[in-house]
Amino acid sequence: MNNDELELINAGVDDELDAAGRVRLDALLAGSEQARDLYDGLQRLGTFLEQVPPVEPPSALHGRIVNSISLPRPTAPGLKGLFNVIPGLLRYGLAAGLAVVVTMAVYQGGSQLNGVDYDKLVGTISARGAELDRFEFNQDGAQGSVRILERGDTYALEFELQARRPVLFDVDFADSGLRFDALAQADLNLDELALTKTTLSARTEGSQRFVVLMRPVAPGSPTQARISIALSQDGESIGRGVLDTGRDR
């Protein structure tokens, strides 16, 4: 047999022939016992190899791989440049001695919904208001809670955390009818922060407390706000929850 015939037989075994190739192969097999023997032998080899079971990777391999990879810092698409300055401003504000509890006055100064007002990203805050829902977590040395509170037209997400290792919070309120309005914090700085008007990602450790303030996208909305929260350490999920205002406005 020539090389073309050998390749034809191989391609037939691998089911890589088009209709014309299939016709040529059938003709070859019909007219050559040698070709039939070869074809059958290759098919038997394929069948034999199919019986070999896949090997399960060691259970620790996943964590080993994920922990060895350093991704870029979380960023908000399209807003990266704008919002990267926020942690610096937070530190500046705190260093300036705004240790006074600013409470809701921080954001009551005429916030507009068409942009983030940096002046509101400083200070400490006591998020007063009616608690609507709460999500608690306690896993792998990280414990704490996220509460949603309501005061007038404003909602406050209050985060409290005690963690030995960095915890990444991913908060998504894209479908809630709410949008980011302001951020205030007590205690220590956040290690990393990235936000858009409908998402927030923060990495922090130790003893932390910070508050995210949100307003309705439009008057009268939301009818029922649902905010998704995911927590992870070293790429592994340690908690996931949904906070719900649980009421029509």
Binding site: N3, L6, E7, N10, A11, D14, E16, G41, L42, R44, L45, G46, F48, L49, E50, Q51, V52, P53, P54, V55, E56, P57, P58, L61, H62, R64, I65, V66, S68, I69, L71, P72, R73, P74, T75, P77, L168, D170, A194, S201, A230, S232, D234, G235, E236, S237
Partner: protein
């Protein structure tokens, strides 16, 4: 998972999304490990190569061309890393057959274990190039086109290497008394 889903996860990874990273690793760690295992024959080395494969893939994520399939790219890295490891092994002194892990693990039956070991022994006789095409075709079930893309060789070369590799494997298995 589709090419688009892979692409979306990759974009999320570029934005620092750890969960996207975990999803992508979960999706491909098993096939990458199996490719490395069949190329190398030992679980420890296969785990090392799997880790290096993902590390290199993510270090070079900016070079990934989304017009091509992500798995083609990561399998290519896995095969190349496996061949690099084989070369390192050769420099240090070839392992004998008795160093090659026999098979899957404690949950695998004795017959499956023996089958796996016999096949691995036959694979170990092949050249690196021939072993790569056999592993990608028979243990990862890729098409000629995908194998060509992964190994950056023409499809015609894939065919000819497969043919030669299969003949050698048949001979090896028959020599060990395996009835095909």
């Amino acid at each position: 998972m589709t090419k688009d889903q892979d692409f979306a996860l990759i974009e999320d990874c570029k934005n620092g999304d750890q969960q996207a990273l975990a999803s992508l690793v979960r999706r491909y760690e098993r096939p990458v490990f199996n490719v490395a295992y069949r190329m190398l024959g030992t679980a420890d080395e296969a785990a090392d190569v799997s880790q290096t494969t993902f590390l290199k893939a993510f270090e070079n994520l900016s070079r990934y061309n989304p017009e091509y399939k992500f798995f083609s790219w990561i399998y290519r890295i896995a095969v190349n890393e496996s061949i690099n490891q084989l070369n390192r092994r050769k420099r240090l002194g070839e392992l004998g057959d008795d160093h090659v892990a026999p098979g899957g693990g404690p949950e695998v039956s004795v017959d499956a274990d023996r089958l796996s070991a016999e096949v691995q022994a036959a694979l170990n006789v092949l050249s690196d190039d021939h072993r790569a095409v056999i592993v990608l075709r028979h243990f990862s079930e890729h098409s000629y086109r995908d194998i060509g893309a992964m190994l950056q060789i023409p499809e015609k070369t894939v065919k000819s290497r497969l043919f030669s590799a299969r003949r050698v494997m048949q001979e090896q298995l028959e020599r060990k008394g395996v009835t095909l």
